[in-house]
């Protein structure tokens, strides 16, 4: 090893440059480092440090970072392996200290392993011990009662309000039809509506419902036909309302169960409004959590599709508690940022815990197959989302705008005949799918291609551009970055590695950002950073570390 190379390594180790070396110092170093295969012990390493005007290290530090696993009483490190030791130290320093100067100053002076473990809590935990601990956990006393996939959306306000409103409208319309005196004609029904419903918006809603019904068939239907149809719909809407009540009760009980669990490992952060958002998340959580590798640890997770809380203040408190208890958060990137889930991402990072941001890689052909067969109203909603989230939508699909417009009209025409938003008619949807198969395929491909662009861009933003993708642990000052996963399998692997302390890293000296980056190997995500800006470093640590030391002293 050349003396200059050693000087650079010492700068990485201590966080400050090697200064004022005389020619003779440099000559000493060149001679001492000339044989790469030469083993040096702690005492000899300290002599090299002193030649370079750097502070000595304790035996514990030398053994831990430079002779990993060597149990000899006087362990040695070959000259060629000094760089590896420095990288090990940098990794630990970036993970637990967020800078090199304080890390070196603190760790190099420690003399007991207990102290070392205390200073490096996230670095020293033994993976095998953690796995054993997970496997020896007992089952929960209480388990949640699973809400089926196709009922999870009932936990959301939009679906619930739709079900309740349509149920009430059907019942009221049935009553008004009963109350029509004399001959039951459309005009008589209109008159009954005018006096029977006080609220103009609701009157309009019921008129729209009647108009939909009248357009449904080629032969003109009568008010008696409407009454028959409403009578047939009421039991279906009754059943749905019953399901809604049950789901809410189940969700509330599940929330209580989550609160009582003695362990909580994974929190899934998301924002859900539409039915398909609930179902997409349900599918994702299920795929991740049923993976055999993760299952072997039997981890506990909080699934928001299974939990309900009607009080907005309690809901916020419950989520905050889950964020405090869970070891990590999985954040669904989805198509838009929302205050709720973004706050959860920030709260996790501010506690120094890892966040996995899941932005799915879209396989267009597979996605087209998934989209075909969905109810037109859902396809239109998905189009709305990509249209808003994909800034280049209009220019990319400029040649297909007519097709999109015409197809939206077809979907609107289909939905105009559907009496209820909350009740789907699989037969009618199937017929629509068959009759419009060519255009439907083209339309779904447009949505899929746009989704692909959106998720690629959002993943790149989180991985490379967004300043808030790296946030500071408010307790320690350590800057934490988000791990960006592009498929459920990677999420599983990351979760396993996080829970068992087996994440792997590369240390990168990044010229572009003028920072040291700790890059997670599986996803190439920036997990920790250390800035090289001296002014910022000095100001930052004067307030973070010094204040912490001051607080510690005050407590003592």
């Amino acid at each position: 090893m050349k003396a200059e190379q050693f000087e650079q390594l010492l700068e990485c180790l201590t966080g400050t440059p090697v200064k004022d070396l005389s020619d003779s110092d440099k000559q000493f170093l060149s001679t001492a480092l000339s044989d790469d295969s030469r083993g040096v012990d702690c005492s000899q390493f300290n002599e090299l440090l002193l030649i370079a005007n750097k502070d000595r290290v304790e035996q514990l530090f030398f053994r831990y970072f430079f002779c990993a696993g060597d149990t000899a009483s006087e362990p040695k490190c070959e000259i060629r392996d000094i760089a590896k030791g420095v990288r090990r130290f940098q990794t630990a320093a970036m993970l637990c200290f967020g800078n090199f100067i304080y890390a070196y100053r603190t760790l190099s002076r420690l003399t007991s392993e207990t102290e070392l473990r205390r200073e490096l809590p996230g670095y020293c935990r033994d993976p095998q011990h953690l796995i054993k601990r997970f496997k020896s956990r007992k089952e929960t006393v209480l388990e949640i009662e699973k809400v089926p996939r196709d009922e999870t959306h009932l936990m959301g306000y939009l679906s619930a309000s739709e079900v309740v409103a349509e149920h009430a409208r059907a019942s009221r319309l049935h009553q008004i039809l009963d109350d029509v005196t004399g001959k039951r004609t459309w005009t008589a029904l209109d008159r009954a509506l005018a006096t029977g419903i006080a609220d103009p918006t609701e009157r309009q809603e019921l008129s729209r419902l009647i108009s939909k019904f009248r357009k449904r068939t080629s032969s003109p239907p009568s008010p008696d036909d409407l009454k028959r149809t409403i009578s047939e719909s009421i039991p279906i809407l009754d059943e749905l309302l019953g399901k809604l009540r049950n789901t809410q009760v189940k969700g509330e009980k599940n929330t209580d169960v989550y609160l009582t669990w003695d362990h909580m490992d994974i929190y899934f952060a998301t924002s859900m409004r539409k039915r398909w958002e609930y179902e997409d998340l349900y599918d994702f959580v299920s795929e991740v959590m049923r993976d055999k590798k993760l299952q072997s640890l039997n981890p506990r997770h909080f699934d928001p599709t299974q939990s309900f809380e009607k009080n907005r203040i309690d809901k916020g408190l419950i989520e905050s508690l889950m964020l405090k208890r869970a070891a990590c958060t999985v954040y669904s990137v989805q198509d838009t940022d929302t205050l709720g889930k973004d706050s959860e991402l920030a709260a996790t990072l501010a506690q120094g815990k890892p966040v996995i941001a899941y932005a799915p890689t879209i396989d267009v052909d597979t996605r087209v197959k998934q989209l075909i067969g969905q109810r037109p109203v859902v396809l239109k909603e998905r189009l709305q989302f990509v249209h808003v989230a994909d800034e280049s939508f209009a220019s990319r699909f400029a040649g297909q705008i007519s097709l999109i417009n015409d197809f939206v009209d077809k979907m609107d025409a289909f939905e105009a005949k559907m009496l209820w938003k909350s009740v789907s008619d699989p037969g009618a949807v199937g017929k629509f799918t068959r009759e419009n198969s060519v255009d439907l395929k083209k339309f779904c491909r447009i949505i899929a291609e746009s989704e692909k662009v959106i998720y690629e861009k959002r993943a790149l933003t989180l991985q490379r551009h967004h300043p808030l993708a790296i946030q500071v642990n408010l307790d320690t000052g350590v800057a934490n970055g988000v791990l960006v996963a592009r498929n459920p399998k990677t999420c599983v692997e990351l979760l396993f590695r996080i829970l068992t302390n087996q994440l792997e890293f590369d240390v990168e000296d990044d010229q572009q950002t003028n920072c040291w980056l700790l890059v997670e190997r599986l996803t190439k995500s920036v997990f920790r950073v250390v800035t090289k800006d001296r002014k910022l470093t000095n100001c930052f640590w004067n307030f973070y570390r010094r204040e912490r030391e001051y607080e510690d002293d005050s407590e003592g």
Binding site: G156, R172, I197, D199, L241, Q248, R273, V388, A398, N405
Partner: protein, 58 residues
């Protein structure tokens, strides 16, 4: 409006904007079935019942 203009990106934006606006308007996260029922049933009462309610000072 020409056929071409009707099927252009502006027409599409208008169609989608209208639907999205209604979705944004409805964004809430908490509810009870009872509260939702109360809300809708209040809107569905007859004019006669509505005036009775107003006169009773409820």
């Amino acid at each position: 409006m020409t056929q071409k203009a009707k099927s252009g990106p502006v027409a599409l934006s208008q169609k989608l904007r209208e639907a999205r606006a209604s979705w944004e308007h409805q964004e809430k996260t908490v509810y009870t079935v009872e509260a939702l029922e109360r809300e809708i049933n209040e809107r569905l009462v007859s004019q006669k019942d509505s005036s009775k309610k107003e006169n009773s000072g409820d």
